[in-house]
């Protein structure tokens, strides 16, 4: 049986890849800005600053796209991204046991994917943390740091530059850590690229719908 489901609508895909390349650019240029003497990605500090600023704006705009699409067009933002009570009580443990143990024994993925329930309990938690906490935080701190002089009062109100820089840096590290995990887990489908295709075309070819592992 070769069932096909339309899992990832176009706006979400546009957002996702803008976001992915944006974040990777931010991570690399950010490393150069923070550690100019070790990380010479572009080898040109000025280019690094400019690119970082630009990528920050791209990520911000694409975050807006994601939010508007899910919140106002598809109207399933919370349903998709917020773990349900069932997820918290059982789903998370079940999913963790699968990743950490059942998977290696060739067991089935306990999560069954539908357009209205795309993510398993762990995915929901991770994606919600990233999309509702980390991205907004990095955007707010970034915008403030780009305009320290003109937004000085606001900078002070939120605790000063020291705090901003610290938060911006730690969230950046979380993104970096997330990226490793995220990309790796995306290869756990029935073939290593099974999950990448729908993120590009929108269509999930689930030979066996129970096989979604990410």
């Amino acid at each position: 049986m070769n069932e096909k489901i339309y899992l990832t609508p176009t706006p979400v895909r546009i957002w996702h890849w803008l976001n992915a390349f944006g974040i990777i650019t931010l991570v690399l240029t950010g490393a150069e800005i923070r550690f100019p003497e070790y990380a010479q990605v572009l080898g040109n500090y000025k280019a690094a600053v400019r690119l970082h600023d630009t990528a920050g704006i791209v990520v911000t705009l694409s975050f807006g796209l994601w939010f508007i699409y899910y919140a106002f067009v598809a109207r399933n933002l919370l349903r998709l991204y917020i773990p349900s009570r069932e997820d918290i009580q059982r789903g998370m443990i079940r999913q963790a046991v699968f990743y950490g143990y059942q998977y290696f024994r060739g067991g089935p993925n306990p999560h069954h994917q539908t357009p209205e329930n795309k993510f398993n309990a762990l995915q929901k938690t991770a994606y919600a943390a990233i999309m509702f906490v980390c991205i907004p935080l990095v955007i707010v701190t970034g915008v403030l740091m780009m305009n320290v002089s003109s937004l000085r009062e606001m900078v002070m109100a939120v605790g000063g530059l020291r705090l901003l820089i610290g938060a911006h840096w730690l969230v950046a590290c979380v993104f970096c850590a997330f990226l490793f995990t995220h990309i790796y887990l995306a290869t756990l489908g029935h073939t290593p690229f099974a999950h990448f295709k729908p993120m590009w075309t929108g269509w999930e070819e689930a030979e066996d719908p129970s096989d979604r592992n990410t």
Binding site: I33, R34, F35, P36, E37, Y45, K46, V49, R50, Y99, Y103, F104, R105, G106, G107, M145, V148, S149, S150, R152, E153, V155, M156, G160, L161, R162, I165, G166, W169, L170, A172, C173, V174, C176, A177, F178, L179, F180, T181, I183, Y184, L185
Partner: protein, 361 residues
């Protein structure tokens, strides 16, 4: 004074004068000029009434002059031709050339591309000279601004320097346009004034403004060096930061050179942002808080050694990205990244080891 003692004084002056003239070796004018010392000159030139004789340019502010290195030199050494007929002799007094005493600076400056654009006295008032450590960044820029409009400078630097106004505010021109080897971060105290709907106006605080806030008996340094130990600790910086705000004070950080050279070459490495935006000892080695004295020159108090970067990191008024990062934060962040990396490494290894088992299912 009685009439007789007045007469004696007159006689004494006459005798001295005659002895002086007779004893004066050729050329006599020189020594005659020396007969008048700084105090004599200042009897007229530091007196406000001289303003009526010819205008402000004749006035030499005594308090300021006395605090310069040129006070040692004395007026007559630089104005040799002034004799006792002055100012009625109609001779315009001579002026020493700076190069007579500052030959090295002169040699350096004469070779620079700026030599034809300005003379020493375009940038220096010989009666108010100060070493570079005793002037504020704004004072360092004052001469430049006489000829270079700030708007033009911002416009020409904007082409390559991001956040131009912020940089120009935090860097005196000579930080980039002369060749000091060592730079420091100097925090000046600024006053700010809230303005509805706009960012506050920040200006350097004057001595009087600071005295109004300081413990009078302890002087102006007590606004920041509270325990009067001649050092500013990080804690004192923070305290100032917290409380100064309520009093309308804030710090204004600038990266300033330790010596002023005069080659005016555009340093190639100043294009290179990481000349400044790099961490560690780098070019910026120390940090000071500089406070204005009554005559407008600045006294620097060192910020606790070893805590310099910490101090930088602790203030929102000097944000030199790259150079102001915190080590602890870097470490925590790198641990987070390492943890993220463990997932693919550990899971991936187990995945490889169990390929066969999974195939079986």
């Amino acid at each position: 004074m009685s009439n007789s003692s007045k007469r004696w004084v007159h006689r004494f002056i006459w005798v001295t004068a005659v002895v002086f003239v007779l004893a004066a070796p050729w050329p006599g004018g020189r020594l005659l000029a020396h007969a008048w010392d700084t105090e004599d000159c200042q009897g007229c030139h530091a007196d406000l009434s001289i303003l009526e004789d010819g205008g402000g340019y004749l006035y030499v502010d005594s308090a300021r002059y006395e605090r310069t290195a040129h006070a040692e030199v004395g007026c007559p050494s630089c104005h040799e031709s002034v004799n006792e007929d002055h100012p009625d002799d109609g001779v315009r007094p001579s002026r020493a050339k700076c190069g007579e005493c500052h030959d090295e600076v002169e040699a350096e400056y004469t070779e620079s591309i700026h030599a034809d654009n300005a003379t020493c006295t375009d940038c220096h008032n010989p009666h108010e000279v100060k070493p570079v450590g005793q002037v504020s960044g704004a004072q360092m820029n004052r001469p430049c601004m006489e000829c270079h409009e700030e708007d033009d400078v911002v416009a020409s630097h904007e082409a390559w320097l991001s956040q131009t106004t912020r940089h120009i505010r935090a860097l005196p021109c000579i930080t980039c346009h002369t060749g000091s080897k060592v730079y420091v971060v100097t925090f000046y105290v600024g006053t700010f004034e809230e303005r509805a709907g706009r960012s506050p106006r920040v200006a350097l605080a004057t001595h009087e403004e600071l005295m109004a806030k300081a413990e009078r008996s302890e002087g102006v340094t007590s606004v920041i060096d509270r325990d009067a130990d001649g050092r500013v600790s990080v804690e004192e910086l923070r305290l100032f930061y917290r409380e100064g705000r309520a009093e309308g004070l804030q710090l204004w950080g600038m990266m300033t050179p330790e010596v002023a050279t005069h080659n005016y070459a555009t340093m190639d490495n100043r294009w290179d942002c990481s000349f400044c935006h790099a961490s560690g000892p780098g070019v910026v080695q120390k940090s000071f808080v500089a406070l204005p004295g009554p005559t407008g020159d600045y006294t620097r108090i060192p910020v606790e050694p070893g805590a310099v970067l910490d101090a930088l990191y602790g203030t929102p008024d000097f944000y030199m990205i790259g150079a102001t990062r915190s080590k602890t934060m870097s470490l925590i962040g790198l641990l987070i990244v390492a943890a993220g990396l463990m997932v693919p490494l550990v899971h991936g290894t187990l995945r490889l080891l169990t390929i066969r088992k999974r195939r079986e299912h």
